[in-house]
Amino acid sequence: MFENLSEKLEGAIRTLKGSNRITEVNVANTIKEIRRALLDADVNYKVAKDFTDSVKEKALGQKIQIAVEPGQMLVKIVYDELTQLMGGTKQDINLSGNPAIVLMAGLQGSGKTTFSAKLAHYLKKQNKRVLLVACDVYRPAAIEQLKTLGQQLDIEVYSEPENKNPVEIAQHAVEYAKQNKYQVVIVDTAGRLAVDEEMMDEISRLKETLQPSETLFVVDAMTGQDAVNTAKAFYDRIQYDGVVLTKLDGDARGGAALSIRAVVDRPIKFIGTGEKVGDLDVFHPDRMASRILGMGDVVSLVERA
């Protein structure tokens, strides 16, 4: 099902051979294959269509250099466009404020709690004093989960097991952080669906109250077509600053990365690459582009073009 795109393109590209210009007619098949590769990678169908339309526009009428295969040239255009779409200027996490507050948000099971611990670990290694806050008052053993991770990392976890009000808990935690000279407060929250009015209201109240310097939307790299709806709905409510893409140690092609980027203009700041606390990485748009296209060899292919 997921053959390498370059293999799939071979047939389509044959129609381009011998021609010295990319035209509407000879490029149609290739564009179709590219669109299909994007769909197989779970890029949202509307995003995929807009994207291939713009690639076609860029490609049309371009002169094919003698030395280069026309197919390769097209793939290069696609790859460059993808990279650019997901890239732009690299933005770091904003840790202004005393303490700086980082708020997590996302669907159930996307990896918020794990990522909270990973980020705490990452910042601790930069000699920051970090406090983790357990604001998921719903999921069974959510507090214990964060506490266990905190213990592993030797990072304090603030929790109020009897309190069912996350906004209050978070406010108290910030007070506590100020008194104890913590520099960064990372607030883990419960997973929620974008259609759950009450829960969306809760996260937006958390954001209002805490005024975090950084709000991160945590999303599973395996997410399908719904990624755009969810990303948009969360953005409408809490205007998050960045996206975290988790579980990239799997073999999902991760089209969600492109889809989200197309509907909300927010950078992907970190990726999760495993279950352990050290499995955090910064986001590389070019690697993501080859991953979405399903071609490990895209870089060498492109270098020749």
Partner: protein, 300 residues
């Protein structure tokens, strides 16, 4: 509550009295299916089946088209499935019915187990749970809380223990205490991690030392918001554990879970349960016609 509008009527109007489905309608159908994560291959397969049916039957009206669409898509959902479940039921046995629950990280395995335990307990079954996720932080605590909610005992050896040993111990206890049903929770694992996948095979072998034909059901839990990667998950988990049933979770959101159509068709695995929320009662028996209808419901 989501307000939903039915696509069928609109599609029907565009097609009434025609002996051929025009391209515009097919394009719209294609978009709807792709947007529901059905995937390109399965979508094309469905469209070809619809085209063939319409060409053969001619003069379809709205009602007929609805029926054809539902039938053709539903047919792909495990065509070979002999018994559709009507309720939470177990085949009669002398020894415990052992269910092994597997899946990638965070899909809803533990939650689904809690819900299943409650359902079967309500049916008067003696249910036990085995806490073989000894890896993820507080995994055992989480299962124990579900055990309390459902009112069923949980067999555990604590965190960090060998999952196969826990499975063995749980099976032994279930035999001793003459349980009707033992459900074993496992740690989430990505299917491309060979060592973790082999661990599942080991759990299976260990259970078989006590009950040779166990596990009687290997339930693969898929997250309803997962896209095409679910196909690979189904393939890889089937390789090591002979997955025999599927549960799709989180269908209370806007994701449709359409990827299971192709999975069910390709691997002939029946879908048994759907998760529609985080509460203990939020588990339903899968109904293929309702599922197909939900693919065409628009989220306002």
């Amino acid at each position: 509550e989501k307000t939903k509008q039915n696509f069928f009527s609109r599609l029907g109007r565009a097609i009434v009295g025609k002996s051929k489905v025009d391209d515009e309608v097919l394009d719209e159908l294609e978009n709807i299916l792709i947007a529901a994560d059905v995937g390109v291959d399965t979508t094309l397969k469905i469209i070809r089946r619809i085209e063939a049916r319409v060409q053969r039957d001619k003069y379809v009206n709205t009602a007929e088209l609805n029926r054809i669409l539902r039938e053709e898509i539903a047919a792909l959902l495990a065509e070979n499935q002999t018994e559709e479940l009507n309720d939470f039921e177990l085949p009669p046995r002398d020894t415990p019915y052992v269910m092994l629950v597997v899946g990638v990280n965070g899909v809803g395995k533990t939650t689904t187990i809690g819900k299943l335990a409650a359902q079967f307990k309500q049916k008067g079954k003696k249910v036990m749970l085995g806490a073989a996720d000894t890896f993820r932080a507080a995994a055992v605590d989480q299962l124990k809380m579900w055990g309390e909610r459902a009112g069923v005992p949980v067999v555990e050896l604590g965190m960090g223990k060998d999952p196969a040993s826990v499975a063995y111990e749980a099976t032994k206890r279930a035999l001793e205490e003459k349980a009707d049903l033992l459900i074993i929770d496992t740690a989430g694992r990505l299917h491309n991690k060979t060592n973790l996948m082999n661990e599942l095979a080991k759990i299976k072998r260990t259970i078989q030392k006590l009950i040779p034909d166990a596990p009687h059901e290997v339930l693969l839990v898929l997250d309803g918001s997962t896209g095409q990667n679910a196909v690979i998950q189904a393939r890889e988990f089937t390789k090591v554990t002979d997955v025999s049933a599927i549960a799709i979770t989180k269908l209370d959101g806007t994701a449709k879970g359409g990827v299971v159509i192709g999975i069910s068709d390709e691997f002939k695995i029946p879908i048994k349960y759907i998760g529609v929320g985080e509460k203990i009662e939020d588990l339903q028996i899968f109904n293929r016609y309702e599922f197909v209808d939900s693919l065409f419901e628009e989220n306002a």
